[in-house]
Amino acid sequence: MASESRRLRLKTWICAAIVVFSNVFGNFFLKRGMPPELPSPLSYIAALFEPWVALGVALLIVWQLSRLALFSWADLSYVLPVTSVGYVLVALIGKIFLGEEISLKRWAGIALIVGGVALVGGGSHPRSHATGAGQ
């Protein structure tokens, strides 16, 4: 029982790490390759063929698939807060690589997010329900 719990926790953390990094870098590459204006619906489609945007989209597909896997055993109320550590990483990447100004309010927000993530991920169990046997 203890080893099952350990296995589940390890699997959850590995999958959550993939979810976080694919989302953070997917959005970063999307932002990097995005034109400053998207005036028409066609320009959205054209933007998808920009190399950086295409890389971002590929990573966001990885993000979606890894999230689907994670949702197959973990609660939404566990997954969403734990993977929200990505918001911190996104702010840091925005500052370091895109030269974005991060105000004191934003840093305070980041500190609250880290505290919340530590509470949710450290003291609770990923799953509060029994999963189905599959289709």
Partner: protein, 116 residues
């Protein structure tokens, strides 16, 4: 444009997340991560109407996200969409203990500050 995109993301991604979580819960836990088994799981999931619905909702959210990223900072666009985590929870019957609520509340307060 900025707030329209954000509103569209929040609505579509919330619907997408609820459908995705409901669909994957029906599917059951994925135990085997070998490519063959993952392919089989993907084929099963592709016939799950909850997951199919979530893909449509997420696609709308994705294009709204592209619009938001084109007009605002990365450090605003991504954290601001975390509002979906609050909304999605109301639609799923999960047991949420006080520690999760406290942690989730801190996360949400943080997201609000980051977005200001």
């Amino acid at each position: 444009m900025r707030w329209t995109c954000l509103a569209l993301i929040v609505v579509s991604v919330t619907i997408g997340e609820v459908l995705q979580a409901a669909g994957m819960r029906r599917h059951g836990e994925i135990h085997d991560f070998s490519p063959g088994e993952l392919g089989r799981a993907l084929a099963l999931v592709a016939h799950n109407r909850f997951v199919i619905g979530s893909v449509f909702a997420m696609a709308i959210g994705f294009f709204a996200n592209m619009g938001l990223l084109s007009v605002s900072e990365l450090s605003f666009a991504v954290p601001a969409t975390a509002v979906t985590s609050v909304l999605a929870r109301y639609y799923l019957k999960e047991r949420v203990n006080w520690l999760r609520w406290t942690g989730a509340s801190l996360v949400i307060c943080g997201v609000v500050l980051v977005a200001l």
